[in-house]
Amino acid sequence: MTMQGALRTEQNQARGAEFLTFTLAEETYGIDILRVQEIRGYDSVTRIANTPDFIKGVINLRGVIVPIVDLRLKFKVGQATYHEFTVVIIINVADKVVGMVVDGVSDVVALSEEQIKPAPEFGSALDTRYLTGLGTVNDDMLILIDIEKLVTSDEMQLMERLPEV
């Protein structure tokens, strides 16, 4: 293998390899760890009128106003209950900061390219348009989401206009 080839493989692994995993009902999902800004608890959300139910409102994140989406309501899975253990993943995509409520955050896993399989046509709560593939870790399945595509999509109603994807 040439030097350049070796380098490129290494970069690929470094780029695509780490995922933050979280659960929605029974399913485990993974998003690119580089998109995640922080993880925090769910509290003091200010409701915004005339928005879909899955947009819970906005919070004050150190002086920045950030919208909060409940993925459980958006994808109609699990019980949308809020208590002290409810977790919000703050992600940073397309120059926007958005919070996502999930059932729980599990782990950070590294996946090699061989561990990622193409996404099936059906079988998850999410539309396959937003999936990048399925990962396998110790016989557990991980659904990998293209979080930028999801958050900027029209159906999330988070953006004024759909940016060019």
Partner: protein
Amino acid sequence: MSNGKPGSDIDVKRFNQVFFEECAEHLAEMERILISLSDREPDQEQMNAIFRAAHSIKGGAGIFGFDDMTVVTHVMESLLDRLRKHEIGFTASMVDVLLEAGDVISMQLAGHREGSAVRQEAIDAVRGKLQRLVDNGPVSQPAAAAALPEPVPACEPVLSLCDDGALRRYELSFTPDDNIFRRGIRVESIIAELSELAEPGGFSSRAELVAVPRLEELDPESCLTRWHFNLTTQASSDQVMEVFMFVADEEQLSLRELPRETPAAAALPALPAAGPAPSAEPEPRLEGRRAYDRDETAPGAFGRRQGEMESSIRVNVTKVDQLINQVGELLITQAMLAQVAAELDPVRYETLHKGLAQLARNSRDLQGSVMSIRLVPISIVFSRFPRMVRELAARLGKSVDLKMVGETTELDKGLIEKVADPLSHLVRNALDHGLETSEARLASGKEATGTIQLKASQVAGRIAIEVSDDGAGLNRDKILAKASEAGVPYSESMSDEEVWQLIFAPGFSTADQVTDLSGRGVGMDVVLKNVQAMGGRVQIASQAGKGTCVTISLPLTLAILNGLSVAVGGEKFIIPLSAIIESLQPKSDQLKSVNGKQVVAVRGEYLPILRLHNLFNIETEVSDPRQGILVLVDLGGEKTALLVDALLDEQQVVVKSIETNYRRVEGSAGATILGDGRVALILDVAELFEMAKKAQPDPGPAKEAA
């Protein structure tokens, strides 16, 4: 190495930006002086100041490669130079041509800066005019020139020196500082300029090294050279020094005039011997600084350095905004701490309470200081009006005196930019519609010259800007007639104040004829909209035969807003204080029903009730106005009552954008963060009204409990 290229591109852009800003400043300065002349002959200082401005623009344009800009400035400079030396006499028409030239340069500047269109014919036209003045300008009468008082005797010998046309020899040595190349100054162009000054064959230069560093320490971008020039020229030492004007002061520059060929002259300290001249020591050595810099430090000097006396720095606005944001955060944190501490025992935690009180004071002071950074004097806007009024008055054939009061009143920079257009419109209106012609004024027993006054002042936390004229005043009958023509609803019984409000209706104009200045009916409604968008109000006062006064009242700043926090269900909202008229708890007999909609009667007016909990789908116990509070708000003449559960607090809030991370929220003008860290929406009252119109009919109090 490949990184070097983009880096240097950015540097050039940055330098260009500096040039653009400086050029704009020079233009503004030149215009200011020209306008202040008002057809008087400029004195020597003013003349020099104008000349310097033109010369700086030309020099800068040359250095930065905007050669097209040097074309006009060059002719302009020739004209000013001849004027300055009294070779030609000053005429009033020159002011107009010079102003026009200034406009053309501005146009060229805008062309480079923003890529806007540049009209070549305008450039050629103004160049022709200037050239004609240079060539055929009235010859200055020597007697008049001699009789002129000389306010700066120090520069006189320099000027008289060059009048005799004799050749002079100078020895110059120039030791630039190390950074001269990094600052983008090209020594070869300085040398070229010097050699142009010289008589044919009268120029020689010699370079020597100041230091020879070791090869490994050699920085190719450092300048380690010193130059010596010998120059034979007709130019004065002043003119020679001007070549170096773009070289900063720290450069070592020395100029020595060599003794003249005639031994007698060389020995003479005074020259010309017979003249009334002050001891004409022709500035034999000018060490380090340029000749005219010293002139400017003379008391009362009128020059471009005037403003720099109070030292200032240029800071990017985003940095200031960031600072304001951070102070906003601090205030929120402080409010939060105060809230927590309020629950603690004041005796046990006395020091804590004291400390927090101190913190509150300090952070409020800090906020005041930080906000003041964004405040700029309104003279920035006012300064454009003398010229505008002068030109408009000339076109309309009216005689006008413009007075400006309170120019130092400070206003947020963002507001300054936005208030300029509405103000221009009002001034234009006052001139075109307000003031009568001189004949009409004399006929009605007024002075022939009308007065327009611009007045800015700070009143109760707001800025009031008045545009008043002593013209004919608004004509009630004419406005009512126009209103019926334009289909604007009105009634004969309206009070004068209400009639004046009619002119804010879209498409309304009372001018008898449409001029190219105003009267097209796109006017006051736009003024009103623009001012309202800034959170401001417009008021009109007018008296027939005495004049009209339009007052724009604006908040001090856009970043902080005085608001009333109200509770609706579990939510809190902020209503801008500027929109609120009053709050009340209605009694049963005040509530009426019109078409199934509830209205409230307040002093003879029936106001619709907007239920905030309905608009924002909030569950609340309070659906009966008698249990809650009605907040009466004014939407530019239209009033309505907002039903809320309770009034909480009047407070200053820091306005935050929701759109940064989310989309626009209907009915809100932004959001803020309360003392408890929660987000509260700031209501946009006008938009609430729109929302209510779109929403389904009011279900009435009966069905609402659900």
